[in-house]
């Protein structure tokens, strides 16, 4: 009668020292509280400075509450002639969405093929892919830049999109998930029913992959949105992504912190919203060990 467990609620302790072993003690609570405060403070500080004038940066003690200058800072940010902030936001939104959609499509297709289809050279191809995942990204930057210059893509948005349309990491993650989430019988019976391989992917595999795709999608979007080095190398100041645009706000002789922090806050806000909405999925994605990169 007592076997039914309600999920989400802590179980009643079984009594004795063994159960107490797992209860958070005061030291644990203090540690966690301190960590959370330290984690949140820089983000909070970003929003505080974004709502105040630049004088605040020199004030002692520093103000720890938001002020009323957000509107003026925003109009200064979007009116800044060097930074092209609006264009940066639009460019980043386009790049991040395109890369996310195509990564999801191509990674799930390839992951399905590696997990469930038999073909000659499968093992070798997989091994090659795993090896490529070990190579540091930045090694490729200079030759990739030279290639982009050769084909005339420097300064153009496709330069930050096309090379990243699918990653080995995404394929590998989808393969791992497909292997354990899609039973072979399901695919065989669809095959017997006369489904084509693509049809099996589309109507049998894809629906099962949805949770893993949500996590991969969130991570891909975040990564593309936050990418800094490659846009800095290949784009021009008059056609930046949002992170590049942040860098352009930094004046050579004078640092306008409230302006830069406003830009940083606006650039972080979309991801913060995504995190608040989907934090649970992101955490379980990391914890499931699917996202080890």
């Amino acid at each position: 009668m007592m076997i039914v467990r309600t999920p989400g609620r802590p179980r009643r302790r079984r009594g004795g020292s063994v159960a107490a072993l797992w209860d958070a003690g005061p030291l644990t609570r203090v540690t966690l509280l301190a960590t959370i405060v330290l984690s949140l403070f820089p983000i909070y500080w970003m929003f505080v400075v974004a709502t105040r004038t630049n004088d605040v940066v020199g004030a002692t003690p520093p103000p720890l509450t938001p002020g009323g200058e957000l509107g003026r800072n925003l109009s200064r940010l979007f009116g800044n002639e060097q930074a092209h902030f609006t264009l940066g936001l639009v460019n980043s939104a386009i790049a991040a969405s395109t890369v996310t959609v195509s990564t999801l499509l191509f990674a799930s297709l390839a992951g399905f093929a590696f997990a469930k289809l038999r073909f000659r050279g499968r093992g070798a191809l997989l091994l090659v892919m795993l090896a490529t995942m070990m190579v540091p990204v930045q090694m490729g930057i200079i030759p990739l830049y030279m290639l982009m210059a050769e084909i005339g893509w420097t300064g153009k948005l496709q330069a930050v999109i096309v090379p990243f349309l699918v990653t080995g990491f995404g394929v590998f993650m989808m393969r791992q998930y497909t292997m354990q989430a899609v039973p072979d019988e399901l695919i065989e019976s669809a095959r017997i029913d006369g489904c084509s391989t693509f049809r099996i992917y589309w109507s049998v595999v894809l629906p099962v992959l949805r949770p893993a795709m949500a996590v991969l999608g969130l991570f891909t979007f975040m990564q593309t949105w936050n990418e800094f080095i490659w846009p800095l190398a290949v784009l021009n100041p008059d056609n930046p992504t949002v992170q590049y645009s942040l860098n352009l706000l930094n004046g050579a002789y004078y640092t306008d912190y409230s302006l830069m922090f406003t830009g940083t806050a606006v650039a972080t806000l979309p991801l913060l919203a995504v995190f608040v909405l989907f934090g649970r999925q992101i955490i379980s994605g990391i914890m499931d060990g699917a996202l080890k990169a």
């Binding site: 797992w22 330290l38 490529t132 930045q138 200079i142 030759p143 990739l144 391989t197 080095i229 955490i283």
Partner: protein, 324 residues
């Protein structure tokens, strides 16, 4: 009469079993092709992209590195001259030293803190998901954002860090000016962003350790600290090796934090006190436009990462008691 697709009437239904109708044959051929070629079609986008934008440029770097290759002028083949020059270049070794130092200063405390944090998160508590989100939230911020905010926090005259330190001593540290302090400030940025993430990875591994082990140890009178050392740590060894290697790859490529900490200066401070290898590579490619030399630096970086990962792996296996 035109034959409609899927029509089942016809001579075949009545007649003796003979060769299949041409349409049927076409369908089996199609089905066979589908089974045979679809897998290649499905995996091809990745390999196509990788070949065009990964493998080809990588191979090209070797070629470029063996030339005197600058923005303008002829590209003269000089063999391993660039590599020889890099190995004799004090600025290169300076950047290696900075990178290694920041890697150690950032990674060691980061992984230790992550372990402590994971141990804390592994206790029973209320609002578990909320607490985990609070620990993980730095990860969503971009490196550029982190660098901008922390550079302000560490600024000499008006930084919050100096303000707090001012309670204990009068000196206002110029964090960026000195080698050690700049390393420390940059390491703090890295750790702020990644400690929570590593803690969650450790937490996941901790939760797969059977609880009976702890209960048995508790009954035998082992203290919590002792349980941590004799049960948790050994069981976590593969995960710790994994995070150490990932951190090595990431740490050796350190770039954005020091770049923005120095206001976008690729030299990493007036005395190159925090220039990393990647920054040096960038400086050669995009300031001096010496692509050949920069390519040689990038290959040296790759070697360093490879060596670092292998060393890490060997060392952690040994420290962990490496029976297997």
């Amino acid at each position: 009469m035109t034959i409609s697709i899927g029509s089942r009437t016809g001579p075949r239904a009545a007649g003796p079993p003979g060769p299949p109708a041409p349409r049927r044959r076409a369908r089996t051929v199609l089905a066979r092709w589908d089974v045979k070629f679809s897998p290649y079609l499905f995996v091809s986008p990745y390999y196509l992209l990788f070949f065009l934008f990964g493998l080809f440029p990588m191979g090209y770097t070797v070629w470029v590195a063996m030339h005197d290759w600058e923005l303008l002028g002829a590209h003269e083949f000089i063999g391993f001259e660039n590599f020889r020059l890099v190995l004799a270049d004090p600025q290169f070794w300076n950047s290696v030293r900075n990178t290694l130092a920041m890697f150690v200063i950032a990674t060691v405390p980061q992984l230790l803190l992550a372990l402590v944090l994971a141990n804390a998160l592994n206790q029973r508590m209320r609002a578990r998901t909320l607490v985990r989100m609070g620990v993980l939230v730095p990860m969503i911020t971009s490196i550029a954002a982190v660098a901008i905010v922390f550079s302000q926090l560490f600024s000499r005259d008006f930084g919050l860090v100096n303000w707090v330190l001012g309670w204990f001593g009068p000196e206002h540290l110029d964090w960026a000016a000195r080698r050690w302090t700049s390393w420390l400030a940059i390491s703090v940025m890295v750790d702020w962003r990644w400690t929570g993430y590593n803690a969650l990875i450790y937490l996941a591994a901790m939760q797969s350790i059977p609880r009976d082990l702890y209960e048995a140890a508790a009954i035998d009178g082992a203290s919590r600290a002792r349980q941590f050392w004799t049960i948790t740590l050994p069981m976590l060894r593969p995960t710790i090796i994994f995070t150490a290697i990932v951190s090595t790859i990431g740490g050796f490529q350190l770039f954005t934090e020091p770049l923005l900490f120095g206001n976008g200066d690729m030299a990493g401070g007036s005395l190159r006190q925090f220039q990393t290898v990647t920054m040096y590579m960038f400086e050669n490619a995009f300031r001096r436009f010496d692509y050949g030399y920069a390519s040689a630096v990038s290959w040296m970086l790759f070697m360093l990462i490879l060596a670092g990962s292998l060393l890490n792996f060997a060392w952690l296996r040994r420290v962990g008691g490496g029976a297997k």
